[in-house]
Amino acid sequence: MYKIYTQNLRVHNLHIKKVLLIMKLTTILIIATLLQVSASGLAQKLTYSKKNVALMQVFKEIQRQTGYNVVYSVRKINDAKVINVNFKDAGLAEVLKKCLEGQPLVYTIEEKTIVIRERDNSLLDKIIDRLNLDINDEETGKLQAVQVKGKVTDDKGEPLSGVSIAIKGTKIGTTSDNNGSYAISAPDGNAILVFSFVGFSKQEILIQSRTIINVQLKTEPSILDEVVVGYGTIRKSDVTGAVTSVRFNEKEAAQITSVDKLLQGRAAGVYVNSGSAAPGGAVNVRIRGASSFSGGNEPLYVVDGVIINTATQDVDNSLRAGTNPGNSSQEAQNGLTAINPQDIESIEILKDASATAIYGSRAANGVVLVTTKKGKSGKAQVQYSSSIEVARVSKMMPVLNGNEFATFRNQTEEMLGKGPAYNLSRITPIDWQRDIFQNGVTTNNRLNINGSNEKTNYYLAGGVLNNNGVIPTTGLSQADLRFNLTQNVSDRFKVSSRTGLIYRRNSMTQSTEQMGSASNSIIRQMLAKAPILDTLAADQVDIELNQDIEGPRVWLKDYDDISKEFRATEALTIDYKISSAFTVSILGGFDLRFKDRHRWFGKNLGQGRNTNGQLGYSSLKNYTYNTQGLLKYSKSYGKHRLNGTAGVTFDKSDIENAYTVNEDFYTEELRIYGLGVGARINPFTEGFSGSSILSGLARLIYSYDDKYVLTATGRADGTSRFAPGNKWGYFPSMAFAWRASEEKFIKDLNLFSTFKTRAGFGMTGNQAISPYSTLTRYSAAFYASANETPIVGAKPSLIANKDLKWESSSQVNLGLDIGFLNDRISITADVYKKKTKDLLQQLNIPTSTGFSSIAVNRGSVENKGLELALEGVISDGSVNWTVGGNIAFNRNNIADIGLPEGKFGNLNLKAFLGKDVAGGNEFHTPANIFAEGYPMAMFFGYQTKGIYQQADLTSHPLALSGVALRPGDIYFVDQNGDGNITAADKVILGNPNPKFTYGFNSTVSYKQFSVNVFINGVSGNQIANGNKLKIEDTSAGLNITKDAYYQAWTPEQPGNPNPRLLYKNGDFTDRILEDGSYLRLGMVTLGFKPVVKNLKWLSGLDLYVTGRNLLTLTNYSGFDPEVNSFTNDPLRSGVDWSSYPNTRSFVFGVNVTF
């Protein structure tokens, strides 16, 4: 039954005596110093503890302690895995059993000899064995001729343990011990030793006649060997999909308040833009383009294996109730509060479906995997970092000053046949922008303690952030705590916990708003309000200050928007190693989020004046629970390596949204705390939304000879959101990689250190649909009784569509990874094509159903693109230069919209229009159109051609909605030639989607100094600058830009580009469409690490100064081209509607390590 390879057997005590002696001495030394091995002589009880030890080493120890000879085949033993052993007074049988567990070996004891044999193989093993036999028999048949020993150190001379030392071309190998020492037997002097270790460059050394070879390994800083891929990590070489690791340093992380900002410009194909530059404002992230009409275009964020809630999650807008409901919109806030960027160890972005399919129905927009920090090895380390940042508005709008404004107004009043509006000698001019904007000061202090030993690894961090905005009432304060702990309970049993606690207080003002009028937004007020403080005589001070006189200042005095949030996240994992190949991992996690928001409008603001003071309150309670059970398998069979993961996950989410409004306040003293004192309280409304997903998932990675890697994944998701029959979705993927650089013909080129091609295909889903959309829903409706008391009723509020299902995406990805010079220079290129079908959209239905729309699955969108990334590390010992750059091109196209053709302006399109930008008189029209055959959200409006001139009156008579154009009016293009400009003359004007986005990052360090430069940009997109409709409107009596006045058309100056004074038009024309391309010097950091001697307690000091947003090259005329006012609303894309201005800032920081 047993095959015994007698010719391969070797008895250990036949070794050359000298070597044996040295080895014994070494071992004894190890025992004495590190290994806690008791000197129990030749008893049959063993005490031995060591990690990652080769089987051969254990046998030596057994022999030493027991005096038994151990007989085995070198080949078989070298095939065996390294193991962790921890025996204390253990019996010989127990020791042998443990050691061989999970190995393809069995043992027998004959007298005082232990014989290790190969186990009866499975069929697969036999096939593999057969494949390998011929290759190895030759070497293993020989007795060793040369014994080599030595010490392995790192580039600082510190010993490296666990370094793998192999004889090239054979299976002979060992690892270095805790002192870095090793000993190995080689067939002869022509053998080559290969030294390899994680994070270090591989070294090959020809033995020749030497017996002692000491080796210093060089670190490879930028090459990480393991990559987090979701539900586990895999070897980097085994990655088959488009996975980008985001590189950033601690200084960068310390300067931002949410993880999404960290992604900007750092990964090809990840487009990040700010919805609002306000502290705590929302950020828009798109991976490989947008593919959904329904709002679900955000990537999935996973922190330490726990799926956290979307970045767009927020409290309801409380002012949807109350008097004038819906006239006030709510500033979008960032929902990614679960993680402090400074606690992030690594970020991996899964871009293509072969990588994301493991997340199934939630992965269509890509996945962002965040791993938080662990303790560094060695003794406890204390790190303190502190920074202060001073920010100023990076650009102000050139509006008229007080005197100019008075002149302009007097001129227009005269044109209307009225007397002058202002007496120039009695006005007090004021520049509202300078008056309101302040220097925003941000301080950030953080302390962490971390460390690890063999059993325990911990990371404890806490900090306080205080971020003041450039508008005085805006800011963000935050205190947070993170505690990460990993405990090896035993060799098989590991428990780890990742805990995050955060408290955040965010104060906002009103910038982007629903209505167009100047009184609804402080930004609008700053620009539009007459730049005159007081037109009265100086002695008349007894005036009631209000919005009309104080302008934007009243927003500082009479408006509060305060939100407070507490969030707790936890991921508790238990890993149990069933055998060397199988591990069970059980995870339980939660994300608890409690937020409330108060918005107060005092009586001097329009909203407060109409309601006699208005206070809105809204709250969010989010309870999300994650559980998962995984079975992981990892095993090598010769050149075959298998890595499998299978598991079940269950996620449950309960969200409670509540709001109320109170109005009519006799006192304004209590402001946001006065909910109880208003006289007209609206019913407290609370909405509950629960959903759950049950999933089964599996992944298998098979690699052969490190040359071919095949990955197959599958996930089945069952969701509560859909009706029976549509609940389950299946998301398979398959990918293949060929590491050509392992092929001889490539190796012989001696050019590439890596040459890998990847091809993958997969399916993913998107369930961005509200829960309960398949049920006939009743909501509260109020009526009154005859005695004037309210009665609550219920009426149908949703038309159900039981046929709803997932949006599903299929994606093909082809990739190429090339590395030169030991991967010091690496290039990654990916091309992809992604098709998303069954798009969830609101289909307009006959209003005689009682509803306007129903949610349906219709249409498809394609995104295809190219991504390139380059990284380089150039170092000559003293100067170290790392450089990284990326660029991504994405083309978006609505392949099928599922709607009949209709007339849209002058075009026959299968299309639907986006949402009205605003509700007032300006931009009360959709800016975007979604049309088959076009990219998503194209701008749709009127084309113009300059200014209508006197001569055009006769040559091109034209009317706008029946009213004849006058010279000096905007010259609309009459698309249908009927002489009248109507909605039928609208055309597609432009594209809000960038043609390409790019980022560049470079760090040069020399001795204690370093310079880091970060540049990012987008190109080819357009922005609908709605603000122009307001600040160029000369008819409203409000302030305007200098150009609108000085460059206005007059009969004398007919060449001026702006329309005549008093001209009024609020339509969306190409005049407000601007090129949104920009190139931004996002960050320049100068670092200095002083050498500190004579201070034992101080082990590191790092000082830096950063300039942020120092330079932006753009043609955009608004505050900042990085703008998307309606961040979370794809139906209002690429619009600038009084967004909070961006800032330029300087940061001074220090990091101290104790």
Binding site: T323, I578, S579, F582, R609, N610, T611, N612, L631, A646, G647, V648, F650, R680, N682, P683, G687, S689, G690, S691, S692, L694, G696, T719, S720, T774, L775, T776, R777, Y778, A780, A781, F782, Y783, A784, S785, A786, E788, T789, P790, I791, G793, A794, K795, P796, S797, A800, N801, K802, D803, N844, I845, P846, T847, S848, T849, G850, F851, S852, I854
Partner: protein
């Protein structure tokens, strides 16, 4: 052995997956009700009924949009509300927001009622309550369709709950819609409670008779000898004989917010400042800062004001009629600060040259909330109908008693029921021909019911010639100002177009079974 263990583990996982999947991912609708459970209890069923009332009491129906749309669309009222100008000028388009919104809101309520009527039969609650709920449901559906059919003519007749399978529906011929209205009212007659047994502020059984009388009266159109006159009479006379309603004295008490749901009220929509729904009736009718509007921050919108012609028609007919002061806010109106708001006729300039409707004045109103109710149908209307019907059936002889009952109440300025000296206008009617009576009763309806949204239907139901004459009288009345006042179209095409409102564009654009060729003539 180990392998078996591993396999068992995987099998266990699969087992967990398959056994529990249905329970774990079932939808658990918390926080809102659904039709599966709502009707299981009496309170739930009543709430569903309240939901139907809530629907018709919202901004886009009776409280603002419907009132504004019908009043301004009638030709009797003036506005400076930009969005309503096309309606008021009689040049409305299918795209007008008000038309679209009222249509949608009417059908939203129809859907609520349909859901109520569909779910009630299986409800386990006691019979008497079930009948009350069903009765009110049928009554409400009749009200909604009666409004729809008079406004748009043929309309989609939806009597089933909307779902993803019945989205498209063609226009149903008018006659069929009326059949449904009559059937609903017949059902309501039997199901609604007797007087006093109803919930206060809700209709009792005689409301169904009264409304049915009005339905038949409308069906009789302008046709001499139409059988519907008799049918209308049969319903109306039963209401008259039931003594279920009496006229409120004096007339102005009808509009006193402390005396709502009076003995005259047949169907009244309830509003309350304490309620969750807003009520803009006061806001859309009243100016600010007069002694009748104590709250400074009341944000009046003043969207509905009467034409000069409408005011004059009334005052010329009955000078000294106490109803004038109860109906209009006009002339010199005292303001809170001691000054005077000058309104027509003391002011004829563009802004204040149009008297306000005073019927919805609530001294306590704030912005878009007030306690002022909306009376959809009242007993005086039944008496006017009876007078009109009796005149059509048998001539004026038997009709005077009904009209004179209304006029005698109108004269009774102090409401003591005694004819005192000075209480002489309006005088009783007598000595008219059938044709004279017919003309006068239409004018009397405009006077008695002004500002109560009857004008559109009353000016349309007598046909093209009647409406044309009405528009001409507006365009030619003494004091007409071509610069400030609206000039109504009087050509036959335009006037015949104006007999109905256009089917809203949203409906045409999204309904696969209604296209532009199915639009009402002229739009």
């Amino acid at each position: 052995m180990k392998k078996i263990l591993y396999f068992s583990y995987v099998l266990l996982l699969c087992l967990v997956l398959s056994c529990t999947k249905n329970e774990l991912i079932e939808e658990d609708p918390k926080g809102f009700l659904n039709d599966q459970t709502l009707f299981d209890t009496e309170a739930g069923a009543q709430a569903a009924l309240v939901g139907c009332y809530a629907g018709i009491s919202t901004y886009y129906y009776f409280v603002v949009a419907y009132t504004q749309f019908l009043s301004l669309g009638s030709g009797a009222f003036w506005t400076d509300h930009a969005a309503s100008l096309p309606l008021a000028k009689q040049i409305s388009q299918p795209t007008d927001a008000l038309i679209n919104n009222v249509w949608k809101e009417a059908y939203a309520s129809i859907n609520s009622v349909n859901a109520l009527l569909a779910n009630m039969p299986k409800s386990p609650i006691k019979e008497s309550v079930k009948n009350q709920i069903l009765g009110e449901g049928h009554f409400l559906r009749a009200v909604l369709y009666f409004n729809n059919v008079r406004t748009w003519g043929d309309v989609p007749l939806r009597i089933e709950v909307a779902n993803s399978n019945n989205l498209n529906m063609a226009r149903t011929p008018k006659a069929q819609v009326y059949e449904q209205i009559i059937a609903d009212l017949e059902a309501a007659k039997n199901l609604l409670p007797a007087p006093q047994a109803q919930i206060k502020g809700r209709p009792h059984k005689w409301a169904a008779y009264a409304l049915l009388a009005k339905v038949y009266l409308t069906l009789a159109e302008n046709v001499d000898g139409s059988p519907y006159w008799k049918k209308a009479y049969d319903e109306a006379i039963q209401v008259y004989n039931s003594n279920a309603y009496t006229l409120v004295r004096p007339y102005k008490n009808l509009w006193d917010v402390s005396k709502q749901n009076s003995s005259e009220s047949i169907f009244e929509i309830q509003y309350s400042m304490a309620g969750g729904s807003s009520n803009g009736l006061t806001q859309i009718h009243m100016p600010s800062n007069t002694i009748y509007t104590p709250n400074q921050a009341s944000s009046p919108t003043r969207r509905i004001r009467t034409h000069k012609a409408t005011f004059n028609e009334f005052r010329n007919q009955y000078p000294g009629d106490p109803r004038i002061n109860a109906t209009f806010l006009y002339g010199d109106v005292p303001k809170k600060d001691g000054t005077t708001l000058k309104v027509y006729p003391t002011n004829t300039s563009s802004g204040e040259g149009y008297p306000y409707i005073f019927k919805y004045a609530d001294p306590a109103w704030v912005a878009s909330v007030s306690n002022s109710n909306f009376i959809y149908l009242r007993y005086a209307d039944v008496l006017l109908m009876l007078a009109e019907i009796e005149n059509e059936l048998n001539g004026p002889g038997g009709a005077y008693k009904y009209i004179n009952e209304v006029l005698s109440r109108a004269r009774d300025a102090n409401g003591n029921g005694i004819a005192e000296a000075g209480e002489i206008s309006p005088a009783n009617w007598s000595g008219m021909t059938q044709a004279q009576f017919r003309d006068r009763i239409m004018l009397e309806r405009r006077i008695e019911l002004l500002g109560e949204t009857h004008e559109f239907y009353d000016t349309r139901r007598r046909g093209l010639a009647y409406l044309k004459a009405y528009f001409i009288s507006h365009n030619t009345h003494p004091g007409f100002s071509a610069t400030n006042d609206f000039t109504f179209p009087v050509d036959e095409t335009s006037v015949s177009r104006l007999l109905l409102m256009p089917i809203p564009s949203e409906e045409i654009n999204s309904n696969g079974l209604i296209n532009a060729s199915n639009q009402n003539p002229g739009y």
